[in-house]
Every structure is written in structure tokens, then in C-alpha cells.
Symmetry: C2
Subunit: 292 residues, 2 copies
């Protein structure tokens, strides 16, 4: 599999689920499309697809879900960037949605994207009427993005952001929910739609949890070591915002060691599955070892 | 049917779908529960249930949907009240969510509610495994709340709010989408879950559209004629905000006539259906004729 070809396929599919910019409410369509098309690694759709294929998934149910999870991820960024939250003007080197379209449209575009994710995921019933796993996959997806997942993590992040006392357990909770839940959600949705069965889905979830945590710690490291050119956003922002991160708590060396350890565990667990998983392994390794 | 008994049943069911206030992310659960329990007429769940029963619906699929639509309605109010939107401090005589919990939590609680609506509606698959209409009902619900429905209407409302040139067609669009879509969505979801069939569902949708518009014009009238005690929010706020409404465009007399005309059309259409619909009719009439 050529990663660039796959990325192109994912982008084309995603585009097909985005709204036409027309009608009196055109402004929100524009803000929605801008937000989704402003870049992004399409990591969650890619993880989902690889897990789907790993377990022999062949029907078209996965494509609406891939688009949906990217919409969810995007809406969370749009709302995170709002003045009431992180108040960020740039992301991936481009203006954030509210910076370009105004704050009200930032709120509405985020809402629209979360809602559109549902409308999109629901088309899986039409794309693959024979697939009996769609209701469960939907439940997994929206549990991962909700108060017991991403939103829960974001809540604690917002509440404790400037708390110098934020301890390791709190940080762990935030990493597991804010970043980890949607990453492992992507993988479990893929496996579920392919009919992998409970025991294997749980193992995939655990792989996702471990890799998700390593991914987030890598993020902290890059915020210290990266450059604006590489990241497309200001570096050192965690320190500037007095944000307690894994790096600020334990230092860079320990952070690198933790990434290595989590990655090792995740890969051993992944290797314990008999299904062919070279592509998935390669992608996960590239994520935790990324430079941007 | 005793309306108060029904309302109590609806509230109890709704409560059962709300999160326990526990865990590190307790703050968002509190804000979610506060928002939902701060009052409200439970109009959309009630309309949904009456339509479901009108077409002979008997299973438990409708209850998760009723809770879900109330969550959607509530999230839309929470986000509408944000400083970036209408900037309202009070609603139904109580502090708005962001006024009480802060702006970031206002954003997050709204997001959490929309997400929770999906998690809740999806439990219909477990509550009524035999009901084949659930996927279609989900699609109807989230189309009604999305960019081609409620969010679309809200976008145009925000964009043209202070536009003295806002014309009748624009106002019509806003009323149809911002208020009307979710009201007629409630009714069509109920009918769909009961297996009413396409032609009757469409007739119910039209009844909802007409009643929804009458409902919104009644809102405009009450903003001029009501009192703080009756409404639980400041009156005259439309005029204060230079908001173009049906009343400001056409005057009170024409507004009353329009409500009467829309109501007449809606009732004639409803009466053209052979299914028993006294309860539904009574509820709709009380809405368009309400004093608060």
C-alpha cells in the first residue's frame, strides 16, 4: 500500500461528504469546508481503514465512518481554538476558523461538523445494508467523542490548565480521554465494522490507548523541540501558557523513554494478533516517532 | 391522556439518560444536567410521542429519541446564549449555562449535549431491536438539527440579525429552519418510528412546518406583549436588539392573523388524516395560542 495514494482516496471520499456551498446559510458551509480542508494528517480515518482491512472488512460501511471521525476531530479543534478556550489564531500555518469567520461562526461551524458527522456516519446503513455491526460502531464512535471520552478529557484539560498542581494522574486522564479515546475509537470502529469480535476489538483498543498516549507525549516533546516551520503553529506555547505537560512534569529524557516504552508495549500487543498488520504497525510507528 | 402525567413520564425518562455527576470531568456533567433540568416545556418530546402513538407505535424505540431531541434543543439554547452569539444571562428565569459555569464550560456543555443526544438515540437499537425504522428516524433527526435545518436557520439568523434590510423571504427561511425544522422533525421521527409510511410522514411534516411557523410568530408577539414574570426572560429584547421579526415587519395585527391562518391550514391538514389525533391537535393549538 502506498500511503500517498491512500491519503488521496481518503481526501476524495471526505470531500464527497462535505456540503455544497449554497443556500442562504452558505456561510456555515464555507466555514465547515474551510475547517476540514485546512489540512490535517487524516490520521484517524487512516487508522480506522487499516484496522477494518486488517480484520478482513470489505464492504463500504467504513468510508462514512472515516469521514465522520475526521469531522469530529475537526470540530473539536475548531471549538478548542475559540477565544473562550485556547484562543488560537493559527493552526497548521493557517488562520483558525473563528479567526477567519468570526467567533459566532466558529461556534456554529463546530456544531455543524459534529452534527454532520452523524448524518455522514448514518449513511453507512445505505452503503452497506448487510453489515450488522453499524449500530455498535456508531455507539463506540460517539462514546469515544463524548463526556466519557474526548469531551471529558477536554473538560479536565480546560479546568486544570493553569493549575501548577496538576498531578500525574490528572494528566494521564486527560491524555487517555482527550487524545487517546478518539484514536483508539478510530481503531475499534474499524475492527468492529469488519466483525472482528469482542476479544480482538478489545486488544485493538488497548493498542490504540497505548499508542495514543505515546502520540500525545510526542506532541509535548515537539512543542519544546520543534520549529514553527515544521509544526505550522507557534512552538513553546505550552510553556508560555504555563501548561503542565508530561515534559514539564518529568523532563525531556523521561518523556522520550516513556514514548519508547509505550510504543514497545503497543507493538508487542499488536504482534500478538495473527492478522496481517504491517501497514498498521508502520503507521503507528511513524506517529509516535514523528517530527511534526 | 393527562398532560401533567405525561410530562412527568417524559421528565423521568429524560433523567434516566442524563449522566451521573462523577469522575474528574464532573464539571461538564453538572453543566449538562443543569442545562437540561433548568426547565422547558418538553414540547418536542411530547410532539414526538403523540405522533408515534397516533400511528400505532407501541415499542420502546421512541423514548431514547424523545430524550435525544430535548438534548439537541437544549444544546442549541446553551450555544445561542453564549457571549459570541446572543449573549444572554437569563433564560426561563434562571442563569444561562455559561453565565453560571463560565464560557468554556458553556461551549463544552453544548458539545456534550449534542454528542450525548446521539449516544442516547442509539440506545433505541437496544430498546427495540425489532424496529426497522430506527436508521431512517436517526437520519431525519440529524438532518433536522443540521445545516439544512436548525443550524442553517441559526446561521442566517446570526448573520442578518442587525440587518435592517432583512426581508420577508429571509425571515421565512429562518423561521422554517431555526424553529420549524426541529418541531416538524420531532413529529416526523415519531411517525417514522411507528411505521407510518412515506405519504403520511410527509403530511405530518407539513403540519409541523405550519405549526412551527405559527409557534415562532407567537414568540415574536409574546416578546412585545408578554411580561418578565410570564416569560422568565427580559421582554422587548427583540426591539432592544434591533431584531427584525415578523412583528417588526408587519405589525401585531397581521402577526395575529398569520398565526390564525397557519393554524387553520395545519389543523385542516391534520384532520385529513384518519388516525385519531385529538391529543396532538390539542397540544398544537395550545402552542400557537400560548401566553408564555
Amino acid at each position: 500500500m502506498e500511503k500517498q495514494t491512500l491519503l488521496k482516496e481518503i481526501d476524495e471520499s471526505l470531500l464527497s461528504f462535505l456540503p455544497k456551498e449554497e443556500g442562504l446559510q452558505k456561510a456555515v458551509m464555507e466555514a465547515v469546508n474551510y475547517s476540514v480542508l485546512a489540512g490535517g494528517k487524516r490520521l484517524r480515518p487512516m487508522l480506522m481503514l487499516l484496522c477494518f482491512r486488517m480484520f478482513g472488512g470489505k464492504d463500504d460501511s467504513v468510508w462514512p465512518f472515516m469521514a465522520a471521525i475526521e469531522m469530529i476531530h475537526t470540530y473539536s479543534l475548531v471549538h478548542d481554538d475559540l477565544p473562550a478556550m485556547d484562543n488560537d489564531e493559527y493552526r497548521r500555518g493557517k488562520k483558525t476558523t473563528h479567526a477567519l469567520y468570526g467567533e459566532a461562526m466558529g461556534v456554529l461551524a463546530g456544531d455543524a461538523l459534529l452534527n454532520l458527522s452523524m448524518e455522514t456516519a448514518l449513511t453507512a446503513f445505505l452503503a452497506a445494508p448487510e453489515n450488522k455491526h453499524i449500530p455498535e460502531a456508531l455507539a463506540i464512535l460517539y462514546r469515544a467523542s463524548g463526556i466519557y471520552g474526548m469531551i471529558g478529557g477536554q473538560t479536565v484539560d480546560v479546568e486544570t490548565e493553569e493549575d501548577r498542581e496538576r498531578d500525574a494522574a490528572t494528566l494521564d486522564f486527560i491524555y487517555a480521554l482527550k487524545t487517546g479515546a478518539l484514536l483508539s475509537g478510530a481503531m475499534t470502529v474499524g475492527a468492529t465494522l469488519a466483525g472482528a469480535g469482542r476479544e480482538k476489538v478489545e486488544r485493538i483498543r488497548r493498542v490504540g490507548d497505548l499508542a495514543g498516549k505515546a502520540f500525545q507525549i510526542r506532541d509535548d516533546i515537539l512543542d519544546v523541540e520543534g520549529t514553527f516551520e515544521e509544526l505550522g503553529k507557534p512552538i513553546g506555547s505550552d510553556e508560555k501558557n504555563h501548561k503542565v505537560t508530561f515534559v514539564s512534569l518529568y523532563g525531556l529524557k523521561k518523556a522520550e523513554e516513556e514514548v519508547a516504552q509505550l510504543t514497545k508495549e503497543a507493538m508487542e500487543l499488536l504482534d500478538s494478533l495473527e492478522e496481517e498488520h504491517n501497514d498498521l504497525k508502520e503507521l503507528l510507528l511513524s506517529l509516535v516517532d514523528r517530527r511534526k
